[in-house]
Homo-oligomer: 194 residues x 2
């Protein structure tokens, strides 16, 4: 039996080159299971959201790139830092832009993960993101969760993930997201097939 690959659009909510979360996203790409294709979306040139810059017929290129990537993928992965007990502006900005184009986030199987130098591993940031996901009817995976704590001990000086336990959890999360996307994307008629 040939299993169709699940495509996952993914971005990291940090612009810093040696960011732990950019490193975590590189690990996601490197560790993706054979039935999963990670499509990294570059959000570095996305401007701060401004409704005056919106255009249905002629969207800004970085906005179109983000929206097309999410729309064209089976699932979405958001890798987010935590700043000030909450979502970083960079992560929220991508979500704010994507939320303004119909059919981009709606009904999208989504997973979150994040790394922080502290003891909580972005748990507050992810919780706020879950709240933002409600309005957009995104289906956020509940299990497993991935909070990478004490990041300085798990990434090297280039921001590359070195911790084996975390790598294992990255794979588990990707497998769970792919399975979740398969169930949600098969539609009702197939789901009741004997």
């Amino acid at each position: 039996m040939v299993v169709r690959k699940i495509s996952i659009a993914a971005f990291a909510g940090s612009l810093r080159k040696k960011s732990f979360n950019r490193g975590l996203l590189r690990a996601v790409v490197a560790l993706a299971p054979p039935d999963v294709e990670i499509r990294v979306v570059d959000i570095d040139d996305l401007p701060l959201f401004n409704a005056d810059l919106e255009s249905e017929t002629n969207p800004l290129p970085p906005v179109k790139r983000l929206c097309d990537a999410i729309k064209g993928a089976d699932a979405l992965l958001i890798v987010t830092p935590e700043y000030n007990y909450s979502i970083p502006a960079v992560t929220k900005n991508a979500l704010d832009w994507a939320s303004r184009t119909d059919g981009v986030l709606d009904d999208k199987p989504t997973a979150l993960m994040g790394a922080s130098p502290g003891r909580f591993g972005t748990v507050r940031s992810q919780l706020h993101l879950r709240q933002a996901a409600i309005e957009n009817n995104m289906h956020v995976l509940n299990d497993p969760e991935l909070y990478v704590t004490q990041a300085r001990t798990k990434f090297d000086e280039n921001g590359d993930l070195t911790d084996d336990e975390t790598k294992k959890r990255v794979v588990e999360l990707l497998e769970a997201l792919a399975a979740f996307a398969r169930r949600l994307n098969q539609g009702p008629e197939q789901s009741v097939r004997p």
Copy 2:
């Protein structure tokens, strides 16, 4: 008795020219009581936060402008929209930048207000902002709260506030923030004076 003016640095977390929240901030300026001076901070050219752009000795001009304005004021007012059940990236971005310079947000008397077209008037956005304020030891005024609901019925086509009840509440909030700042800023030795 001469009462010293309380200075309040204030910004609105929206870049849209006819934004309700920019209009609310203009109303704040117009309605400020005689003992309150509102100093509006322009955050329009603040880039998205990127730690690689940080410099202690040579900060980016819009970052320096924001930090100097908050640092030099007795209190802070954040006027925020709500996007996707949470803080807009534009509001959080200003906070993320300001939080990176020591002594800017720490111990600052702060008030929040916001306007939205819906029924909840930015209550979820403000709640998330309160959480972000904890890490920075900002003292956020609890009473009164100001959630401007159904904004389309309370602002004109230019985004200017027209609703008298809301204007009254704006004044009440500014008076309460000024009183809160006076109490917090007088220091311990004066506070125990008979």
